[in-house]
């Protein structure tokens, strides 16, 4: 066997214990939130169609909208929509060639999480105040 330097060479990543960097997590979250948003839009469109269908259909859809399940879906969708929108705007900058350095991606990931949570809380506050 060839005389290889066994102590100093780079190790291949141990995939089972590999912790994803924050930029990778926020990138995957963009895809997850985008697809999960289907739940919110389907609920809202169902509610709209029910409103023109019949009083009974609307009562049913409106009950779901205002139930705790509806609250979770709508509030979750609202945060997911803010997150997906901010992540999409970041992607427009990526496409233009900005913010692609590791440090920049790390910072924009932090801003993405903080910004989406902040906007979601702000939206909830405004919604319940008015």
């Amino acid at each position: 066997m060839a005389d290889v330097n066994r102590g100093n060479r780079p190790l291949s990543p141990h995939l089972q214990v590999y912790r994803l960097p924050l930029a990778a997590v926020t990138s995957i979250m963009t895809r997850i939130t985008g697809h999960a948003l289907v739940a919110g839009i389907v609920l809202i469109v169902w509610w709209l169609v029910a409103a023109v269908a019949s009083p009974g259909a609307f009562a049913c859809a409106d009950w779901v909208m205002r139930s705790w399940l509806g609250f979770i879906i709508l509030t979750g969708s609202m945060w997911a929509l803010w997150y997906h929108m901010l992540a999409g705007i970041r992607h427009l900058f990526y496409d233009a060639g900005y913010g692609l350095e590791i440090g920049q991606a790390e910072r924009s990931s932090q801003a993405l999480i903080a910004g989406s949570v902040l906007l979601a809380i702000l939206t909830l506050i405004i919604f319940f105040l008015f």
């Binding site: 895809r31 985008g34 697809h35 948003l37 289907v38 839009i41 389907v42 809202i44 469109v45 169902w46 709209l48 169609v49 409103a51 023109v52 009083p55 609307f58 009562a59 409106d62 909208m65 205002r66 709508l74 609202m78 929509l81 803010w82 929108m85 999409g88 705007i89 992607h91 427009l92 496409d95 939206t123 405004i126 919604f127």
Partner: protein, 129 residues
Amino acid sequence: MRYLTPRKSAVGLGAAHEGTQHHWQMTVSAVALAILTPLFMITIACAIGLPRELVVAYFGRPLPALITGLFVIVGMVHFIKGTRIMIDDYCHGWTRKAAIILSAIFGWAVIAAAVYALVRMGLGAIIVL
């Protein structure tokens, strides 16, 4: 030796001839949705909790109807193209074809349902007037 001819690299379409088009359409719909998203949230937030007659009257007005219609149409077209990227990443062969077809059918069904409801509400408002 490069196998790519100068003309090929100038056109920049790659082997599939359509990826750049898809990417550009996602960019255009993304910018449109960045404008529509806050407007749509305000529109829906104002309507949640209203009784049925007021919901119908509210979406019979031009601005809520236009914002909702535009958001659902542009959003679902963005969704169909977005799921296409994920399907291409994770599905292969027959499953890929089925998933692409189902995603398009689903997306356009949601658009049709929303447009139908908005048209009914809009016409209702005209009849009442």
